[in-house]
């Protein structure tokens, strides 16, 4: 997959720089090493998950009064994109209940390390699918139905159940978290956007791993399972596929695994591991943030009718348009941008290489764009969460006395200011990342700078489109 050009240079000087090891804390280390740590959190989440599924199936069909819609698409989504991904990377994957049943079935246990191998048919996951293309496709497929999924409690419930079921089925055939790593439509973008996060799991000293013959983190120990994400911590250079499950912390007899605090976006500059499927994910996410902002938050009723499947012909048009923009249009334009960057920089790097690498510069703006989109509806609809907490099924309960809290958009006067600030930070950050990625491909700073100009133009156009949708 990763064809390395000789021009590519690893930013060795930066990796490992400016890190604070959190696992120095005895307390944190003990917590993470406890076998109960992950399952306890998963079980708590499973409780909310079951509540959401039940509410979706038997509760009121009015989405804004149903726990399934309000807690999944407002509360969970906001926490995921605003807090978990930018600061804690894949930490959602630590606590996500969806793969739980499959994993526990395979292990024949929840907390304890049950002896012996995992119980699956032990099939091998196809080589062609060892990437995130399935996740890209799954995310897009969901996006086409977003107006339905986000507003119908029963659809949300079936979707959640379907994901659990798929996880269970896959765990019958394949060892480990094949579902999370290659299939889950959410997992793909969490992985990519985790490259920006402020925490990372890394080995302290790669030489210790090289010299360690048994590689306990890979094969497991009597106290721990081999890495369920099929990752070897010893050469983990970026966060995309480490699910922070903490098994390796429990396994490593050399105490060589650390959880570090680090600067934002550090992994975006790691050249090793960049691939076309991830580049596409970056483009898809950026397009979808714009499209969702227009479709869901925009004023145009006809698009909403299409997205809401008012007529089949309308929806087909919408789906075709959506895919044309997200799969062909935006990536096509970015291909031209990469071409322009190559010409401007005057380098002979293969265009595909440049397209893939430069796509990672879209991640910061994509992330802040998604947060800005989220700010556009979470504060407006946040009061629903307060009332739904007391009446999760919409049956008239009043558990905490907050049922009749009226709907009231809060802090609308700060929403646009927040959105502008987020987008500008994302823009500046993306330009800097584009420059530094270009610098990995060019011989001089001046070349890299010239190569950055077309990308900056693209980023600026995206920012202005967001601004037009939100403020114009």
């Amino acid at each position: 997959m990763s064809t390395q050009t000789p021009l590519q240079r690893e930013p060795h000087d930066r990796v490992g720089a400016a890190r604070i090891e959190l696992t120095r804390s005895r307390w944190l280390r003990a917590t993470l090493r406890s076998r109960a740590f992950q399952p306890a959190l998963m079980l708590v989440m499973l409780f909310f998950f079951v509540a959401a599924v039940l509410a979706g199936l038997v509760g009121t069909p009015a989405g804004n009064h149903n726990f399934a819609i309000v807690f999944v698409w407002i509360v969970w989504w906001a926490l995921l994109i605003v807090v978990m991904v930018p600061f804690f990377g894949r930490m959602w994957c630590t606590i996500c209940p969806i793969p739980g049943p499959g994993e526990w079935l395979q292990r024949r246990g929840v907390v304890r390390r049950t002896p012996g191998r995992l119980r699956s048919l032990g099939w091998r996951w196809p080589h062609r699918l060892r990437n995130i293309w399935l996740q890209n496709a799954g995310f897009l497929a969901l996006a086409l139905f977003s107006a339905i999924v986000l507003t119908r409690p029963d659809v949300t419930a079936w979707l959640l159940l379907g994901m659990v079921l798929l996880g269970v089925v896959l765990s019958v055939f394949y060892d480990n978290r094949v579902f999370c790593r290659y299939v889950c439509p959410v997992g793909g973008f969490i992985g990519l956007y985790s490259l920006t996060s402020t925490i990372e799991l890394r080995v302290k000293d790669t030489r210790v791993c090289m010299d360690h013959a048994t590689k306990d983190c890979v094969i497991g120990t009597p106290q721990s399972y081999g890495c369920p994400w099929m990752v070897f911590p010893g050469n983990l250079g970026r966060d995309a596929y480490c699910g922070l499950c903490t098994e390796c912390l429990k396994a490593c007899p050399k105490d060589n695994i650390a959880l570090n605090l680090r600067p934002f976006g550090a992994d975006l500059l790691v050249a090793k591991g960049r691939r076309l499927d991830e580049a596409y994910k970056a483009l898809i996410m950026l397009s979808c943030a714009l499209l969702y902002s227009a479709v869901l938050l925009g004023p145009w009723g006809w698009i909403k009718d299409w997205a809401n499947m008012a007529t089949f012909a309308g929806w087909t048009t919408y789906a075709a348009g959506f895919l044309a923009i997200a799969v062909l249009g935006v990536p096509g334009v970015f291909w031209l941008i990469a071409l322009a960057a190559r010409t401007a920089a005057g380098v002979a790097v293969p265009i595909r290489r440049l397209f893939v690498d430069l796509a990672y510069s879209l991640v910061p703006l994509g992330l802040t764009g998604w947060i800005a989109f989220t700010a556009g509806f979470v504060l407006v609809n946040g009061t629903y969460a307060v009332s739904v907490l007391s009446d999760p099924f919409g049956w008239g309960w009043d558990l905490f006395g907050t049922r009749s809290v009226p709907w009231r958009p809060i802090l609308t006067e700060v929403v646009t200011v927040t959105q502008v600030a987020l987008l500008l930070v994302g823009l500046a950050y993306s330009v800097v990342v584009a420059y530094r990625i270009a610098r990995q491909q060019t011989a001089s700073e001046a070349q890299a700078w010239r190569g950055t100009l077309p990308v900056s133009g693209f980023l600026c156009a995206v920012t202005l489109t967001f601004l037009w949708l939100y403020l114009g």
Binding site: A17, G265, P299, G301, D305, W468, L471
Partner: protein, 156 residues
Amino acid sequence: MTRARLWLLLPFGALALVVLLVPLPFAPAPVTRELTVVARQFAFEPPVLRVNRGDRVRLTLEASDVVHGLHVDEYGVDARVEPGIARRVEFVADRAGKFRYRCSVSCGPLHPFMTGELVVSPNLPFVRAVGLTLVVLAATLVSLRRLPPGGAPGTT
């Protein structure tokens, strides 16, 4: 941040302040505008209302299918409208910019996304945001251009 870079960014900071604060002339005298908004599942017709700052807005609100509501962000307007019974809403558009109006009565699945836009000219927040974007872009590019070898801002 080095002292050199600080000096470099100073003019951009000044420019940003200008973009944010400079008063822009706006001539039209306020008028009274009679507008009709029809609410239906799940949109308002017309989707965008354009008025000038200072205008008195007289809205006739109608519902064409089920009960809807109208909540205008930051204007404190909140009304409920039933099919067949038009409602009058009146306010002075004293704040410029884009404000969303939303349905405030649960009316079906897409109710939370049932929005329209009130654009009060001069839409200075938008103009200033665009200006600020260009200033930020220029500042970022200039600071990268003058980067000493090996160093870069942003990730450290």
